[in-house]
Amino acid sequence: MSTTPKPPSSEDILGQKYDRCLADFLVKAGVGFSAGVVLSVVLFKRRTWPIALSTGFGAGIAYADCDRSFNPARIPGTRIVSQLSNAEGK
């Protein structure tokens, strides 16, 4: 993308993250949609809500993963103490 030969340049990290999140969202949302379709067809007599639900699940999972990629310290059930974060920030 730039003149620098090295592939992972630091200024491109965020863009890559965005790219991966989008890809992941699409895949997971697509998988959820697919699963919702199958379920709605097989189990719920062609109802729409299982499709939306599973797509939602997929999108949610994708979002959670993306968020975690942006902020790896954010782990469920854990909280980073501000002091440490302050020290790191400094």
Partner: protein, 638 residues
């Protein structure tokens, strides 16, 4: 002793004179016997006291010289003792020996003898004198023999002492010899004594006729000893005893005056023969008587004449006889003296010969002994000398060796010292030379170092320029390891610690391999890539920035106004604006500093750019340091 005898002699002589005077002064008729006895007593007492006193004083003096205590006593207690001792000391009696006394005595005696012989030859010898002379000669011979004996014994003793002194410690032969000699001397002495006895006998023999002859004149006239009555005369042919002889001379003198007197004619005889004088006196008296009676003159004249002629004849006869006697006696005496002197001489000669012979023998023997002894002693001495010389040689050898060692040591020390001195001198010269050389060397070295330094600085500058050209000023990023190595070697050759440290830190990293971004690239990179993307995350919080915040930041960042120039503020956009400004000013250092202040996501995005910028800045800084050092070095050199 001699003095005492002389004193006694003098005293006796004096006494005789006194007696004679008395005899002459007193009349012949006076009875002489009682006073004679008295006088004898006085004389004896005087004589004996004189002799005793003399003997006492002289003996005491001699004894005082032998005994100290008696000397004290004699000088202090005895009257005239001190003066006597003083006289003795003045005449050196203490040194007087028997021999010297005898010598002096013999001298005195020989003088006395001469006097006697003079008297004898002087034609007035009486029988008494002759007797005395004979006695004296006998005494002298005795004394002479005694003297010779004494001399012989003293000579023997002297020789003996000499032998003893010379060969004391000699062997038995010598002693035997000396004994033999002493025996010989004893024999000699005995012989001499025998000769003396013989001589005395011989001397006595002629004396006896003389003694017999002496009273012969008195025997011719009968001696009338009885006392005569007063006025009576002795008949012719009779005479008074001897002591009364002399007084008759005086009356004869009286009678000679008147007639032809007989006494003057016979005066030469009467003086020596009192009897004749007496006869002449009687005849003169008779003549006087005849003269007094002229009647009887004629008768008596012829008788008197005959008597006179007879008397003169008798006188002449007596004279003649006496002369003969005297001549005979003198001849005999002469013979005897000659004989004895010859004998004495012979004896002396013999003794002398014997003594000489023995002395020679002893001398020979003594010489032999001395030779032997000297030989033995010489041998002993030679042995001793040899051993001594050996010892001394050995000691000397040792000493010589020791001294040689000592000398060698000393020489070595001296040589060392001299060598040291010389070395010191030479070293001093060498030091001087070396100092000069060093100075030269230093100058040359200085020069060379100067040149070297110049060359090195030049090389440094060249390398530095090459490095800066390749590393910083190149339009593309490329490796500058080679240039850095050259520069580092040049700097290391100069031993510049600062530059070396800077270059080493630079070389330690991988920067020279990868090279540094050119400033244009960095600026472009920042302006096109980094700055917009950082401005997109400008609103993202530093912590707990999730997806939403990022998305929101991205959404709202586009809505904000872009700032330019040196703007104040701590926010990301202001910082970015300042960095951009600095980069436009070509101040990469300040831009990097500004950007380095950012934190959070922005820092993450800026990481690579900052890294590149920092690398470039490091190289730049190192090169600046080296350049400063090079400048300093060139300044120092010039």
């Amino acid at each position: 002793m001699y003095r005492t005898s002389r004193l006694a002699l003098a005293a006796s002589r004096g006494a005789v004179r006194v007696v004679r005077r008395r005899l002459t002064t007193e009349p012949p008729s006076a009875a002489p016997l009682p006073p004679k006895k008295k006088r004898h007593v006085v004389r004896n007492i005087l004589l004996s006291t004189t002799v005793l006193v003399g003997t006492f004083y002289v003996g005491s003096t001699f004894f005082a010289f032998k005994n100290e205590a008696y000397y004290q006593f004699f000088s202090e207690r005895v009257p005239l003792g001190y003066s006597m001792l003083e006289y003795a000391e003045d005449n050196q009696w203490e040194t007087m020996t028997l021999e010297s006394a005898i010598n002096s005595a013999t001298q005195r005696f020989t003088s006395a003898q001469r006097y006697v012989t003079d008297k004898i030859s002087g034609a007035t010898p009486t029988v008494q004198d002759a007797k005395q002379a004979v006695k004296n000669t006998r005494d002298s011979t005795v004394k002479a023999i005694q003297d010779s004996k004494d001399r012989a014994t003293s000579a023997a003793a002297r020789i003996r002492t000499e032998i003893k002194k010379d060969a004391s410690g000699a062997n038995a032969i010598l002693r035997d010899q000396s004994e033999q000699f002493s025996r010989g001397v004893d024999d000699l002495i005995r012989e001499a004594q025998a000769a003396l006895a013989k001589g005395v006998d011989v001397a006595k023999l002629p004396i006896s006729p003389e003694v017999a002859a002496a009273p012969s004149p008195t025997d011719d006239t009968t001696v009338y000893n009885a006392p005569l009555p007063v006025g009576f005369e002795l008949p012719p042919g009779y005479s008074r005893p001897k002591p009364a002889k002399k007084p008759q001379a005086a009356p004869t003198e009286e009678t000679t005056a008147r007639l032809l007197r007989l006494s003057p004619a016979l005066s030469s005889i009467t003086s020596s023969e009192p009897i004749i004088a007496h006869l002449a006196g009687t005849i003169d008296e008779l003549t006087a008587y005849v003269e007094a009676n002229p009647a009887a003159t004629a008768k008596a004249a012829s008788v008197l004449e005959t008597a006179k002629s007879d008397l003169t004849a008798l006188a002449t006869r007596i004279d003649k006889v006496r002369e003969d006697e005297r001549a005979e006696l003198e001849a005999k005496l002469d013979d005897q003296t000659r004989e004895y002197t010859v004998k004495l001489m012979e004896l002396e000669m013999e003794a002398q010969d014997r003594l000489d012979g023995q002395e020679q023998e002893f001398r020979r023997f003594f010489d032999e002994e001395r030779g032997k002894l000297t030989q033995a002693y010489r041998e002993k001495l030679e042995n001793e000398l040899q051993t001594q010389t050996e010892l001394i040689n050995e000691r000397l050898k040792e000493e010589v060796i020791a001294q040689g060692i000592e000398l060698q040591r000393r020489w070595i020390r001296e040589i060392k010292v001299r060598v040291e001195e010389e070395r010191g001198g030479r070293l001093a010269k060498i030091d001087e030379l070396s100092a000069n050389l060093k100075r030269l060397e230093r100058v040359a070295l200085d020069n060379s170092t100067y040149l070297d330094e110049n060359i090195r600085i030049h090389a440094l500058w060249s390398a530095l320029r090459a490095l800066s050209t390749s590393a910083l000023a190149s339009p593309v990023r490329k490796s500058f390891r080679e240039e850095l190595r050259v520069l580092r070697h040049v700097a290391a050759a100069r031993e510049d610690p600062v530059a070396a440290a800077a270059l080493e830190s630079l070389e330690g990293s991988d920067v020279p391999d990868v090279g540094v971004e050119p400033f244009a690239d960095l600026a472009t990179w920042f302006a096109r890539e980094v700055a917009p993307k950082v401005s997109h995350v400008a609103l993202v919080p530093d912590q707990n920035a999730g997806l939403l915040s990022h998305l929101a930041s991205r959404a709202f960042a586009g809505l904000r106004f872009k700032r330019h120039g040196l703007v104040s503020g701590d926010d990301v956009l202001s910082v970015l604006a300042r960095a951009e400004y600095y980069l436009n000013e070509k101040d990469l250092d300040s831009a990097a500093r500004e950007l380095n202040q950012l934190g959070g996501t922005a820092k993450l995005l800026l990481h690579d750019w900052l890294e590149a910028a920092r690398r470039r800045l490091e190289v730049q800084q190192a090169l600046e340091v080296v350049q400063a050092q090079a400048t300093l070095a060139s300044l120092l050199v010039v």
